[in-house]
Homo-oligomer: 101 residues x 2
């Protein structure tokens, strides 16, 4: 069963279309990270927050990515980064159509 990485932080943007344009190269590079399966990019202009939900092949892959990505976000001037790594409960997730297969 793959492992889920949940990241969020406070930010003053960019959001929406500007965010899409600013991070196109970053998105391309993320797809090549070891053990990477997918990422949903999250944002809330209203709450001045953004982040991501990731699926990785193993916990070690998620831990290595989180350490690297936290340092990268800090280099952008972002602080207060919250990262959590979770196992996925397979039977319950299957019952609620969670896309981890």
């Amino acid at each position: 069963m793959p492992v889920l990485l949940q990241v969020d932080f406070k930010t003053e943007g960019p959001f929406g279309r500007e965010m899409s344009e600013a991070y196109t190269d970053l998105a391309q590079s993320i797809t090549g990270e070891p053990g990477f399966l997918w990422k949903i990019w999250t944002e809330s202009e209203e709450n001045r927050e953004a982040g991501g939900i990731y699926l990785f092949e193993t916990k070690q892959h998620a831990e290595d990515y989180l350490a690297m990505h936290t340092a990268r976000l800090q280099s952008f001037g972002i602080t207060g980064i919250r990262g959590r790594i979770f196992d996925v409960n397979g039977p319950l997730t299957e019952m609620t159509s969670g896309p981890v297969g």
Copy 2:
């Protein structure tokens, strides 16, 4: 574009197979909630945390569910529930194969 709800909290369990068995009825009921699309059930026995990543059709659906679910978790004796509602950045999520389509 659907809306993502991210929930997590501290818990002493159940985890793993016991969690699957304890929440089977709850999982069935969640699939019938208004605007519900999917849920990934998250858990970390190591960190004594659990939660869920949900996709809903609209922000209103996510807000209504979060209010109901927070009250339900509190009725189980759970405190310190953290819920965040995010928009999904569509173009970036598509680039990184995020399963929101």
